[in-house]
Subunit: 162 residues, 2 copies
């Protein structure tokens, strides 16, 4: 995997009408970015590419890719996500539910709902995520929230380091 760049020059408006899909789930004129700033939240082996972020569009479309064994941050927020898996497989936590998902499956993350994506198997897992441009910051669970989540043995197993 290429090393993601730390900062977000690629988040400038992308005006080109055509941008081709390239090797290894990269796109022409789309930078490989860090998922988040290191140390701000727990996550593992995940990158971000901003596919559409234009002044006239009220949402962005991002592509996140998680290497085998990796996971997104366990978080919640007022804004919602519309997600489509684009490659590979994952186990996904949404609220109290954990489901296996695969390419082209849809996941809707409602407001203020704990969610996390974890890869399944030996392949990278990539997903599209549509989100409002104007949105609140994600919240991380404190110890009492984690205890509530772990009260469900399936969620406890999902959250345990593997």
């Amino acid at each position: 995997m290429d090393k993601p760049s730390g900062k977000d020059k690629a988040e400038a408006p992308q005006a080109a009408a055509f941008r081709a899909f390239a090797e290894n789930f990269r796109w022409d004129d789309v930078s490989l970015l860090a998922y988040k700033e290191e140390g701000t939240a727990p996550f593992k082996s995940i990158t971000r590419q901003v596919l559409f972020k234009n002044p006239e569009l009220a949402c962005e479309l991002r592509y996140f890719e998680v290497a085998p064994g990796g996971y997104s941050t366990l978080e919640r927020h007022q804004h919602t996500h519309g997600v489509m898996i684009l490659r590979g497989q994952a186990d996904v936590l949404v609220g109290g539910e954990i489901r296996p998902v695969k390419t082209h499956d849809l996941v809707h993350i409602p407001a203020m709902t704990w969610h996390q994506f974890r890869t399944r198997g030996d392949e990278p897992m990539g997903f599209l995520c549509m989100v409002n441009v104007a949105r609140d910051k994600p919240q991380l669970p404190d110890e009492s929230e984690l205890q509530k989540l772990r009260a469900d043995p399936a969620i406890a197993a999902f959250l345990a380091p593997r």
Copy 2:
């Protein structure tokens, strides 16, 4: 191909967290809809599925599928589109440019820019299209606009019935 239903009951908010990808580029709990009302604009062999349309999201994500030999309406509007090809191949007109595109390529349709998708080859062509929920109605070209477009021989060939 299943027969699309005429009206849009599937455009109600889709609250389910998980909706699986099914056979033939259908999704669980997502209705197959007509592209547009018949007779309102020229198009051929195209269906629509609304993948995400939620009150909290400022954009919708739709999946359009064009059967071999089909095409979308030649139109323009103030709102813009963020498009990702999801299956197959197409020739795409954006403004003065025609490009062949294939799975996972990105297309940005700027404001007030004539655009049309036409399938390429013998496979169905499907694409995701992100668009603002609040948007203007598409405009169709009148004869004088068509003449301007056809002044470019490549565009004239693209627009000619095949």
